[in-house]
């Protein structure tokens, strides 16, 4: 039993954090709202150079051949920065799915370019109606019933669906199912798509929650009303504490789920899907609480589009609801508990 990350894993996350702090500050996130593709210029290329995009790709295709466990801390950083790039779908869902299930030619065609960042992959959740970055992607992993398909850009249509978070470029995707695009007809692979995506969303949600808490703590310590910082009020303190507690317990749950997914089974042989669902519930609930508390503690200033808070509020709401919301994942675990 050793529940901590290696120094390499921690350093890798710090590298990502530094890059995002430099190249993806709030002003860049804000600018991405106006960008036709929702991009931060140059960021994708910088990320590719660190190897984070290809963490899960085989070495043979230029990847690092590492696991979910190596990605989970960087994913928290992408949430912390409200990064608009679809790194989670590309690196934490599509690449490992292709690596694990694509036939040789498909893998050969895509994995190398995906790992080096010259091709963008995305993936749709079986729980969600829309796919992130589908208009921009070169290949989309799409679920239908028990099948997972890998569909190249020319073979699907994407109708843009504006999100409250303009950095999230969603689209309704339609395509014709056929043997050419079929990646797998095993329902376990659909579940793997969901689990990888839910875990990545949970990790990002924890990062979003931490940023919301940091912004809030800084604001209430500085903002004065009635001649003293609003943060001296017990109600404000308790809002912040409740968020801190929720995040404190969501974190290890997400890390444990990442470990279980990497291992293919839980620490005591359990179903990793249940670990993912637990992590997603805790992360969704934590980020929901963080959004509510952050806005309430900021007051009217946080309610303006000019304040950066909104970048994380909207990301938080979206991550909480996507890849299965808390109710969906509680139900998944509930069915297992009810069965005994």
């Amino acid at each position: 039993m050793q529940f901590s990350f290696t120094d390499d894993q921690v350093m890798f996350a710090e590298t990502v954090r530094d890059i995002l702090a430099n190249e993806c500050p709030p002003s860049a996130v804000r600018a991405s709202w106006e960008d036709p593709d929702g991009r931060v210029p140059g960021l994708w290329e910088t990320l590719a150079a660190t190897g984070v995009l290809g963490v899960a790709a085989p070495e043979a295709h230029g990847g690092l051949d590492m696991s979910t466990l190596d990605l989970v801390l960087p994913l928290e950083e992408f949430g912390y920065a409200a990064c608009p790039e679809p790194v989670a779908e590309h690196a934490a869902v599509a690449i490992p799915l292709l690596s694990g299930h694509a036939a040789g030619p498909v893998a050969d065609e895509w994995l190398g370019r995906a790992a080096e960042g010259t091709a963008l992959l995305t993936a749709g959740s079986p729980t969600d109606a829309f796919v992130l970055a589908a208009e921009r992607a070169d290949l989309a992993l799409l679920c239908a019933d028990d099948e997972v398909h890998a569909v190249p850009a020319g073979s699907y249509t994407a109708v843009a669906q504006a999100s409250v978070d303009h950095a999230r470029r969603l689209a309704r995707v339609d395509w014709t199912r056929g043997p050419d695009t079929l990646l797998s007809d095993d329902p376990a692979v659909v579940r793997e798509v969901l689990d990888r995506g839910a875990l990545a969303a949970a990790a990002q949600a924890v990062g979003v929650g931490r940023r919301l808490l940091d912004l809030t703590v800084a604001y209430v310590a500085e903002r004065e009303q009635f001649g003293r910082p609003v943060g001296v009020n017990q109600a404000v303190k308790h809002h912040c504490s409740n968020v801190a507690i929720a995040l404190e317990f969501a974190g290890p749950s997400v890390h444990k789920a990442a470990w279980s997914c990497a291992q293919g089974e839980g620490p005591e042989g359990g179903d990793p899907s249940l670990d993912v669902s637990t992590a997603k519930v805790l992360a969704s609930d934590a980020v929901d609480l963080a959004c509510r508390a952050a806005l309430q503690c900021h007051g009217a200033i946080g309610y303006t589009i000019e304040h950066d808070l909104q970048l994380w509020l909207k990301r938080g709401w979206a991550l909480s609801a996507s890849w299965g919301d808390a109710a969906f994942h509680r139900r998944r675990v509930g069915e297992a508990l009810a069965a005994g």
Binding site: V159, V164, G227, A235, Q296, G299, T304, A321
Partner: protein, 388 residues
Amino acid sequence: MDLRFTADQRDFRDEVRTWLAENIPAEPLPPMDTPEGFEAHRGWERILFDAGWSVVNWPEAYGGREVGLVEWLLFEEEYYRSGAPGRVNTNGITLLGPTLFAYGTPEQHERFMRPMAAGDEIWAQGWSEPDSGSDLASISTRAIRDGDDFVLNGQKTWCSRGAWADWMFCIVRTDPDSERHRGLSYLLVPADSPGLERRPVGRLDGEPAFAELFFSDCRVPAVNLLGEEGQGWSVAMATTSSERGLNLRAPGRFLAAAGRLADLYRRASAEHDVDPGVLDQVVRAWMAADAYRWQTYATASRLQAGGELGASASMMKVFWSELDVELHATALRLLGSHGELVADAPEAVDAGSWMSGYLFALSGPIYAGTNEIQRNIIAERVLGLPRK
């Protein structure tokens, strides 16, 4: 006790319902907080006014019908149920209006009430300042008497509808040596006053629904003082009580929203499997709206028997604002991945109104005194807990 509406009340309600059904614009108006939407909503105010529905509880002299509290509540229920456009002059009619009736001179009544009711003059509230939010008594915008004018210098912010409004009702410091609640005055400021600059500020939904007001040697005639010079705090507190209680948030809004939520549930469950826990949340919202409705009617009966609203307005404010957030959060849960879509998304359900309603609802626990401050007021003034 008789909880049935009287025959007159039912007739009134039917009249409202029928008129609304026949007169609501066929196409939704553009968003209120855009220049064109603002004017479109002004036009709708005029239509309401011409038909006598703009200010039903006001005196006939100013375009009202002089109906009682129950009829007003019924009007609001019907109004919200009908899906009629939002009221662009709410801040004028429900916040400033009662204060003007209570503190205004006869000349001021003649001057302001009817144009307000008709939508000819749309009002915005200029109270908050960058450093004076919850702590309203710390206001620093100065208005120094100079002959027949006040000369204003300072800044107001979070001024809803302030970018295009015709008038602002402001609290300003007329005694430069005063502190806190003393030395404040309540001043009615024309939007076209020289020396007043306005800057639209985007709300969470992206609409420029707020404004910052910058006063630089801005001259406002002293006749526009509401109440006595230096009496601004007590005049303002009268408005605050309206803001928190009955006048700002009649139950109609929440009843209508709860009804639409139940309808959304039925549509969603007809289409796909809905988590059973969500129905429980729909019921919670529906029950809270029902409880708010009946508590309001009980309060109306108490007020009509000569009772006072007092600090129980704070209980109502906390209740409706949190009910509103929960109600819309439940709708977003029902919508699943459709929840984050906004109006211009082709597949947005109900034109994205649940997300925009959620964004609006989130302001409820903040404005008109945060719910934290309301809870302090309840504890101290209703329950009598010690302040320090």
